[in-house]
């Protein structure tokens, strides 16, 4: 606007010289400076009308603005003041003058000293301006421009001010620009936010599950359509302007062009098509770009379900349609229970169950006794650990991070600790050392001894620790539903899971006569123990591989070194365990603990690289499979190709099983080729907020998650069940809209 006017004028050297003289003589065209908000004799705001022309020509647009100046510490407000204050109002009243909308440079953010109350506005100096044009036919020599400004100026106290501003602008056939004021405007004009199109950006909103009924959460994703706008943000980057249906909105940066959105829902509900509008500052300093961010709060449902009703009624934003459908809380608890029971068959948990059963049969057949107490202790151990797990998940989710089932295996120290535990357990089974306090332990003693019950409880805790990375088929849906329904449901679901996990063993105890059916003790039991030890070793091997995926080959090596130290310490402990002198025994125990502790501190230092930072760390992708990202999927869909998304993790056995059997089978691969499906793999081995958000969107607690996107319906993928079979995949592919190509 400012530059284009130059092309309208015809210059001659003489004219140019005259202009300089004129400019020098007249100075910037500014109306009288009017003081306002007088506070003990001191004005807290001064305003004047300014124009960037020394002479206006009818029909030729020029810039007309109001310049506000405030003393240090005082500020006026933006068009949306924020939580307090009053927006600055400027009204131009000039017949014969056409004025465009007022332009507002990107505001500063002001906070009360404790950060409780936020507002937006301007301190120091600001010019709010519009494009103005004198209607042709104005005959006068000069036009008396008038404007009123209504402001609230605040520091700690607030003072309102009504200012009457005037400016007489000479009128002539040719407009004469005012260089001084144009320069002044240069510090404000670029800070006026541009529309998304002009900034070369596109925005998308993805709803997530809500943590509770009062909030609507989601992700806002910015992508470049052209140009090179920066996508990082610095402090105070967003000023919300309109957010009907919410009492407040917040954007938190999560990475390049990605933000978490949190809106407090108004009790009056959302309007028909809710939209959020605000000003965004990308980048910082001289390269900062200012954009008017506008995004619709869309639910992404295929049948146009009313977002407002869904959001306020259930407190959850509608997620994508699922072929399995949503489930009620009663079903969720039942599924959690059954899933827990099924977990006993998973290779992770089976050794513990088998050991428990083995110990139990010995107890029953060597002498009766309160075996019931052991069952209760085992159950209590399981429930206690499930409670801790549930509280941890609730706490972490309340803190805003997306975690689901199996999240603890994204933490290398945890994996290392579990490996150490497993090795120790395994060596105990091999007979390298015994877990007892003095004297050879006889199982019969353990029946009544308190340490026996604590051991049972400990085995319950171990069962939970090992169960988590295993995802039984029904677990994902049940736990995902629970996590979306809030803390109380999460707690209930986890506890139901624990009961399911403990159920088979309790059944063994409760059903009379069942115990007697188990094989009689004998030498075979020693061999069985050794076999179970190997099973544990196998589990450890798998976890070491997971560690490799988490922290790389070096970290894997360190873990192995640590396990070696544990094995050595265990052997030494076993050697001196039954020494005659009590002091030797205690020294042996202390020595083992010390050695393990010291080497642990030295060796167990892991650095988890950022998710996606080094693709070589995760399992290498072969067969034309691509790394998942929301943009890549949408790009492929835009081309008209269907997309299959496989969310997996190294520590998820169900995922790996499906990948190596079903997804790798010939007829499935052929079917994918025939339908020209693009295969995307999302690796959740390490924390990844984008994958966590996608899981939450489909109400799943953890991996695996299989999505089939039809290009005709890019927003609503078909969710395939965790228990994948080739016929399920083929059936889903048949349901795709036939492509025209």
């Amino acid at each position: 606007m400012l530059g284009s006017r130059l092309r309208h004028e015809r210059w001659s050297a003489k004219g140019f010289a005259l202009l300089l003289l004129w400019a020098g003589a007249a100075g910037a065209v500014e109306g009288p400076v009017i003081p306002g908000a007088i506070d003990g004799g001191v004005p807290r705001v001064e305003a004047s009308l300014v124009a960037d022309v020394d002479r206006a020509a009818p029909g030729v647009p020029f810039t007309l603005g109001v310049r506000f100046q405030m003393p240090e510490g005082w500020h006026i407000y933006w068009k949306h003041p924020g939580e307090t204050g009053l927006s600055t109002e400027v009204a131009f009243e000039v017949p014969g003058l056409q004025v465009g909308s007022l332009r507002w440079p990107f505001p500063e953010t002001f906070r009360s000293p404790d950060g409780f109350i936020t507002s937006y506005g301007y301190g120091g100096e600001v010019i709010l301006f519009s494009e103005a044009t004198l209607t042709p036919g104005a005959a006068a020599d000069s036009v008396p421009l008038q404007a009123t400004a209504n402001v609230l100026v605040c520091e700690v106290d607030c003072i309102p001010a009504d200012l009457e501003l005037t400016l007489a602008i000479p009128v002539g056939a040719e407009a004469v620009p005012d260089a001084a004021l144009r320069e002044r405007l240069e510090s404000f004009a670029p800070r006026v936010p541009l529309s998304l199109e002009r900034a070369g950006l596109a925005v998308r909103f993805e709803p997530a599950d809500a943590a509770d009924a009062g909030l609507l959460r989601g992700s806002v994703l910015l992508t470049r359509t052209s140009g090179s706008a920066p996508l990082e943000v610095t402090k105070d980057f967003f000023a919300p302007e309109r957010f009907e249906g919410f009492t407040g909105v917040k954007l938190t940066p999560e990475g390049e062009g990605r933000f978490t959105f949190e809106g407090r829902l108004s009790p009056d509900g959302l309007p028909q098509s809710p939209e959020v509008v605000g000003a965004l500052r990308l980048g910082s300093g001289a390269d900062a770009q200012f954009v008017e961010l506008v995004f619709a709060i869309a639910g992404g449902t295929a049948d146009g379900e009313d977002t407002a009703a869904a959001a306020t009624a259930s407190g959850r934003s509608p997620g994508a349609q699922e072929t399995e459908g949503g489930i009620g809380w009663g079903w969720a608890l039942l599924l959690s229970f059954l899933g827990g029971a099924l977990l006993n068959l998973m290779p992770c948990v089976f050794p513990v169950l088998a050991l428990k059963a083995y110990g139990f049969t010995r107890m029953v057949q060597e002498g009766q006794g309160r075996v019931g107490g052991h069952a209760v202790a085992y159950t209590a151990g399981i429930l206690a650990s499930m409670l801790v797990l549930a509280l941890a998940v609730i706490g972490i989710r309340a803190a805003g991070h997306g975690v689901g089932w199996g999240f603890q295996f994204q933490e290398p120290l945890f994996v290392a600790a579990v490996c150490g535990l497993l090795i120790a357990f395994c060596l105990n089974l091999f007979g390298v050392f015994d877990v007892s306090l003095g004297g050879e332990a006889r199982l019969a003693e353990l029946v009544d001894a308190r340490q026996g019950r604590w051991k049972s409880a400990g085995e319950g805790v171990l069962a939970v620790v090992l169960a988590t990375p295993c995802s039984a088929p029904m677990l994902g849906t049940a736990v995902g539903f629970a996590l979306a329904s809030g803390p109380a449901m999460t707690l209930a679901s986890f506890l139901a899971l624990g009961l399911g996990l403990a159920a088979p063993f309790c059944l063994l105890v409760m059903i009379p006569g069942l115990a007697r059916r188990l094989p009689k003790p004998g030498a075979w039991m020693q061999h069985f123990k050794t076999v179970l030890g190997f099973a544990l070793l196998g589990t450890t091997l798998w976890l070491v591989w997971v560690m490799g995926g988490l922290v790389g080959v070096d970290g894997m090596g360190r873990l192995l070194a640590f396990l070696l130290v544990i094995a050595l310490a265990a052997w030494l402990f076993g050697l001196f365990q039954y020494a005659n002198a009590r002091r030797t025994r205690i020294l042996a125990a202390l020595g083992a603990v010390l050695v393990i502790g010291l080497s642990g501190m030295q060796l167990l230092r892991f650095e988890v690289p950022e998710a996606g930072a080094d693709p070589a760390l995760s399992t290498s992708l072969k067969d034309g499979k691509r790394v998942w990202s929301e943009e890549a999927v949408q790009a492929v869909l835009a081309e008209g190709r269907p997309a299959f998304v496989d969310l997996t993790a190294d520590w998820c056995l169900t995922c790996k099983f499906n990948e190596r059997t079903v997804l790798a089978s010939d007829d499935v691969r052929e079917a994918f080729e025939r339908h020209d499906v693009a295969f995307f793999v999302g690796d959740f081995t390490r924390r990844d907020p984008a994958i966590a958000a996608l899981l939450a969107k489909h109400q799943k607690a953890g991996v695996p998650l299989y999505l089939l996107y039809d290009p005709a319906r890019p927003g609503t993928p078909e969710v395939l069940p965790e228990a994948l079979t080739p016929s399920i995949i083929r059936g889903a592919l048949e349901r795709l809209t036939p492509s025209s190509g």
Binding site: T84, G85, S112, P113, F116, N150, S266, G373, A380
Partner: protein, 198 residues
């Protein structure tokens, strides 16, 4: 065994209530209870007003918005039609440097009858999320918050007859109904809270 179970029960019992205590006042939920002294030293407890409709008005006589409303007698005129319907009006001043003497002098000057509760520590203001003066809350007979927000839709005080949201809310609440509009954008000066922790 018994120790384990009692430990489990205790942990659960401790976690759930704490999680609730942190939530600020929300429309549709129970309004946070409080005990505050007014400018004459008399103690007021919100739960004592159970059975009556209560209006809370966050105020600060130094704020131009409050000054304008008191000049127009907005608060008294909003309260008057409901005074006989068991509606209690409580003004609360959470300004950190306010004193009971200042409130008392202001009350005498303006000539209104309702008490000005002293919340200089700002605890009650924060519990209600009061950010502006004025900021209005309407609580029904059962102690549930039914309306929160600005008193009307006219922050600049230009309209001769602005849409008074508190009047509309009170009309509904005294009849046992939910107000058609349960939230309006609050406007005014910032509540001048004391620094956190003091």
């Amino acid at each position: 065994m018994k120790q384990l179970i009692s430990a489990l029960v205790l942990t659960t019992a401790l976690v759930l209530p704490t999680a609730h205590a942190a939530e600020p006042a929300t429309v549709g939920k129970a309004a946070p209870d409080f005990t505050l002294k007014d400018e004459s030293g008399k103690t007021h407890k919100l739960s004592d007003y159970r059975g009556k409709t209560v209006v809370l008005e966050w105020t600060n006589p130094e704020c131009p918005f409050v000054v304008r409303h008191y000049k127009a007698k907005t608060m008294t005129r909003t309260h008057a039609p409901f005074a006989s319907k068991d509606v209690v009006w409580l003004a609360i001043d959470s300004t950190s440097h306010n004193t009971p003497q200042k409130s008392s002098a202001w009350k005498k000057k303006e000539g209104f009858k309702y008490p000005v509760l002293q919340d200089a520590s700002g605890k009650v203001g924060r519990a209600y999320g009061a950010k502006t003066t004025p900021h209005m809350y309407v609580i029904d007979k059962d102690g549930v918050l039914r309306f929160a927000g600005g008193i009307d839709d006219d922050p600049r005080g230009r309209s001769k007859s602005p849409n008074n949201f508190v009047t509309a809310a009170l009309t509904a609440v005294v009849d046992g109904k939910t107000p058609a509009q349960q939230h309006s954008t609050p406007y005014g000066c910032t509540v001048k809270y004391a620094a956190e922790g003091s």
